[in-house]
């Protein structure tokens, strides 16, 4: 049996979300036109998360994808909390004071972030108080530390990542009197998540990456063709520098056991991640927390299991690698996606498919017969194929959905094969993970006009 095209569409579009940056006075002053995002689960429930928000007290927009493992708890927590940590890190001293005073005197708080969320993207109500207190502690420390220097985005991103991971770890060690919350903070800490976050402010694009999700810039060349520029490095065994880094951080005696079967300690694919305290805490700490923890935790074989050759923790860090890029008019879009996408598609194809989608069919290279020998039949075939490509573009109102359609449905010719797409989407839950991973994509579209103006001003 096959899913009908409309069934396929309803599956693909279930999680799609689009945001257009509003135009003021007819002038779009933001370098971001808007973004499309979507995710397709393979795990049940899905372990990927995504976030997008506009900073209200500073300029700029934050977007991120988070790939959870060993459950979705950590990815969920990071998706809720990380942007607050980043926003707070970016805030000037006066604003921090103002916020702290407001909390102190019970006044209404200045809003820090405006979230752009799909209805399916939820925030945990129960933990909000706990999370807020941790965050408040962070900004209180920042106020105390007042260096008087203007905030550097790179520093802010690194600090925010590290601080959040630290808070996750601490919350699990301290525990909570509420048994539900106590279990929650432990699940967050024992599961893990990678994060790939973009901060766009005018022409300044910062990518902070932890793990093996990826950020890619779509660039339109002068001849109209598309190319891809990587704005992040994967933190996994394929990255020599990462392997080198990990080896540097541990004694020579562990060199052989550090990376086995392309995994950290033979277990973990990403070499950097949030949570995953099993790769960060000492054996004693792990044992203590698990034993004093709730029964559910004790019954879980995974949490009790200590990685082999575990001698000099921590083996894992959440510290991101930050890349700064000055946007140029030819930089048309940014793709943030979890490894589910990059496993199936080459970045060059991603750049082309999104580029052609965003610019519409008008920019599809016109066919010219020129001096070639072309028969009516060949031309007919070519045109039919082009029309099929266009019609699949028209089916999607969302660049991320369009990309997922290609990622899942592409045949060997690089065109969407409905039969294949239908087969992949109708796999039963327990089989789906064997054929594909969760896919989460955010496509950010830039306003070349605005970027061009910035460039001229500089």
């Amino acid at each position: 049996f096959y899913l009908t095209p409309s069934q396929v569409n309803s599956i693909l579009k279930a999680n799609e979300y689009s945001f257009k940056v509003p135009e003021f006075d007819g002038k779009n002053v933001s370098s971001v036109l808007g973004f499309d995002s979507n995710q397709l689960p393979a795990n049940a429930p899905i372990e990927d998360r995504r976030s997008a928000a506009t900073c209200l007290q500073t300029r700029g927009m934050l977007l991120g994808v988070f790939d959870g493992h060993a459950g979705c708890a950590c990815a969920q927590a990071v998706s809720e909390r990380l942007f607050y940590y980043i926003a707070v890190s970016l805030l000037p001293h006066e604003t921090l004071l103002e916020i702290e005073n407001a909390v102190e005197s019970g006044r209404a708080l200045l809003p820090i972030l405006q979230w752009h969320k799909h209805p399916n993207d939820y925030f945990s109500k129960e933990a909000s108080k706990l999370y807020f207190n941790s965050l408040r502690t962070y900004w209180q420390e920042l106020i105390d530390l007042n260096s008087g220097e203007t905030t550097d985005v790179r520093e802010a991103l690194i600090n925010a990542f590290k601080r959040l991971d630290n808070d996750i770890s601490l919350e699990a060690q301290v525990g909570d009197p509420n048994s539900f919350l106590n279990y929650l903070v432990l699940r967050v800490a024992f599961s893990g998540a990678t994060a790939c976050v973009a901060h766009v402010d005018g022409v300044d694009l910062h990518i902070a990456n932890t793990g093996d999700s990826r950020a890619m810039l779509g660039v339109q060349e002068e001849d109209g063709s598309w190319s891809a520029v990587n704005l992040s490095y994967d933190h996994n065994a394929q990255n020599e520098h990462e392997v080198e880094r990990v080896k540097m951080e541990h004694p020579k005696s562990e060199e052989k056991s550090l990376v086995k079967q392309d995994r950290l300690l033979g277990l973990l694919m990403p070499f950097r991640a949030f949570g995953d305290v099993k790769f960060k805490w000492s054996i004693e700490l792990q044992k203590r927390v698990v034993e004093s923890g709730p029964d559910q935790l004790n019954d879980n074989e995974y949490t009790k299991f200590i990685p082999p050759n575990y001698h000099t923790p921590p083996y894992l860090t959440a510290e991101p690698e930050v890349i700064h890029h000055k946007l140029r008019p030819q930089d048309k879009f940014l793709v943030l996606a979890t490894d589910g996408l990059w496993e199936t598609m080459h970045r060059q194809d991603v750049a082309r498919i999104v580029g052609e989608y965003l610019t519409g069919v008008h920019h599809q290279q016109p066919i010219a017969v020129g001096g070639y020998k072309v028969t009516l039949g060949q031309m007919h075939g070519l045109l039919t194929e082009r029309r099929a490509r266009i019609s699949s573009v028209f089916e999607d109102q969302n660049a991320a959905t369009h990309l997922i359609r290609h990622a899942v449905g592409n045949n060997e010719f690089g065109t969407v094969d409905h039969e294949r797409l239908s087969k992949m989407l109708s796999l039963p839950e327990e089989l789906a993970r064997m054929y594909r991973d969760d896919i989460t994509i955010i496509v950010v579209q830039f306003n070349s006009h605005v970027i061009g103006t910035y460039q001229n001003e500089e």
Binding site: T375, L376, T384
Partner: protein, 882 residues
Amino acid sequence: AARMFLRLLSDIQWRAAHPKWRRMTSSQRSTSTTAEPHPVSLPAQAQVVICGGGIMGTSVAYHLSKMGLKDIVLLEQGRLAAGTTRFCAGIVSTARPVSVELKMAHYSNKLYQQLEQETGVQTGYMKTGSISLAQTQDRLISLKRIASSLNVMGIPCEIISPKKVLQLHPLINIHDLVGAMYVPEDALVSSANVSLALATAASRNGAQIHERTTVSHVTIQKGRVTGVETDRGRIQCEFFVNCAGQWAYELGHSGEEPVHIPLHACEHFYLLTHPLKEPLSSSLPTIVDPDGRIYIRNWQGGILSGGFEKNPKPLFTEGRNQLEIANLQEDWDHFGPLLDALLRRMPGLEALQIMQLVNCPESFTPDMRCIMGESPTARGYFVLAGMNSAGISYGGGAGKYLAEWIVYGYPSENVWPLDLKRFGTLQSSRTFLRHRVMEVMPLMCDLKVPRWDFQTGRQLRTSPLYDRLDAQGARWMEKHGFERVKYFVPPGSDLLDLDHSKTFYKPDWFDIVGSEVKCCKEAVCVIDMSSFTKFEISSTGDQALESLQYLFSNDLDVPVGHVVHTGMLNEKGGYENDCSIARLSKRSFFMISPTDQQVHCWAWLKNRLPDDSNLVMEDVTWKYTALNLIGPRAVDVLSELSYAPMTAEHFPSLFCKEMSVGYANGIRVMSITHTGEPGFVLYIPIEYALHVYNEVMNMGQKYGIRNAGYYALRSLRIEKFFAFWGQDLDAFTTPMECGREFQVKLDKGMQFLGQEALWEQKQNGVYKRFTMFILEDHDTDMDLWPWWGEPIFRNGRYVGKTTSSAYSYTLERHVCLGFVHHFDEKTGEELVVTTDFINQGEYEIDIAGQRFQAKAKLYPFSSLFTQRRRKDEVELSGYQRE
């Protein structure tokens, strides 16, 4: 590479023709044209200046010079036949639905056939025939209708089976065909060379041709053309002919006083291939597959195939600077659906190698018919353009008609359907044209069923009651930009269904219109007729009466308050217009004409009224809303609303009085209807329109009043044998020929236009006679419905065509109106048509090849008139316009 090739396409033959051309003109050209672009200086003056060296311009020059005019100058901005003409597919096809277009194409074919012999220029003329394919039964019906009209014109044509198609053209896939029409005498030509041949002949006859000369604008003084400004100087002239093709609109607007020529260009694509392995014979018929939207002709052993896509690409909306014609791109993606259709039709061509996709802009008009004639605002300014991609088919005939128009004042055929004056400034908006041509171009291939309406460019002119009527279920059609109601869909009916009723058979509004007709006959209906053209003519002295007495055939010197039905005739006694004129006072008249007369009638009167500041003519069309109350209870409604007696003694028919209706005063009430039913027309100053309408509807309730539309009106007027100008009546029809002698006062004591011609007809008889036909063995439910243009047969011989038809709900029969001629059986010469000739014949009407018996009548059924009247009263109202 693309441009290189386009040059080749026509230059191969251009080179062959050119030496001859140059030799012929060398007497006028001192040096070679290639070395110096402008060897001969322009003359300071000429009688006729033609702008445009394409097929139209050269054809006009050819025919003018043939008619003996010597003083002709043709100006071409580039080189002869270098525009659309050069890229044209060169198909001469006579299968045209509009009769006058068919005649033009037929003449063109005959002209081109002998052109090579006449001029010595190779035209590439090849009689291949053409086959129009039908994939559906409806398409076959429309082909059969065309076949009927071709046959009666003596043009060979037959409906053939798919099998026969295969015999005529071995490459065709016939599996999805239900039939086809074969026209064996259709031809192929090299259009550029036809143009060169015409130019050669014209220049041999004395016409001067100047290439690389651009007309910047035309100068007009006191409403007359005085000359032409070009980049090489000025030429004074009496007549100017705008044959600038897709640039005609811009050229018309370039002068101080704009001449509105509503046309707009669209890209048009066709494909050229290399020869087949076994090259196609040059005599292989041309294939037209309207359901696939394509045409296919043989071309140098390969094929040439183009079509009319559903999503046309209009261009040059902003003017000529937008893009150079030579830079137009091939657009394969756009051509894709047409290529699909081509390979479906000729699957064997898969392996055929492509040579070129040609992008050749064509100009289209708002109603799919070409534009010819004289500007209504500038005398001597003629136009011939907007060929809707049939330039080669029409070129010869259109050029001939326009030349006749210039030389004799009017062409030898009724060309009203093509007359520039059917349009006004209101069709001149670029936005309107852009939207409309996007609808028109696909329509070239769409099935044309009776009573279809354009969907774009609508709701431009509306009555103040538009929203009220629309809310009550009105379905609209458009005339001269004005929205008019067809019928009212009763609440609860399936509206969608009705809107899609496209059929050659009984339409689904049948019962709806039937009930509206019934209400007109038994109670009272109200029809909004605001679209009619309304003029007021007044003077300080008797100038108005005197002038109108000369311009109209009926006697207008009637007591104040009387209404006269009269024709506005030309010298030959033919109807230029048919109108009602009310004498408002001794010195002022109120004139009502058909909607599409607004431009033509204005120009006709303007050109003929004396230039006297004390004589004023005003177009008051927009000032009045007209409501027609039809039916026996109209009297009751109106008298209750006005507290005035409206019975025949107090308000006889053909009477006009200003009175109050409800609270509104100054309503012009006339006791005329357009259907022969009793009733009134109320001319209401527009600010009172809604009030009066509401009052009428409220008061009418107890008399069973309801809204009605034009379809009901049509049925009523046709069953009563009322002719309608523009449909039944034209400039070639006199009152004598349509039983309206009573509207002509030959002895009114002064001369009037057309008087002599009518005298002669009165003495010698007429050569055609307007006749009513009642279809006898026609099954309304099962048989094809008549429309108009159906051939009439008398005793098995063709005698004429119908001009309109409708179902009569009273007679429960179809009624067709049309003209009967009397052709001599041996010579074909036209003879006088007598009453006996009409009465002593057995008649048949041919609907798409099927003949139905019909009874002919010269007078309407008197039983149809509800009120008993004296015979002359019946005759007095025996008139209808719309």
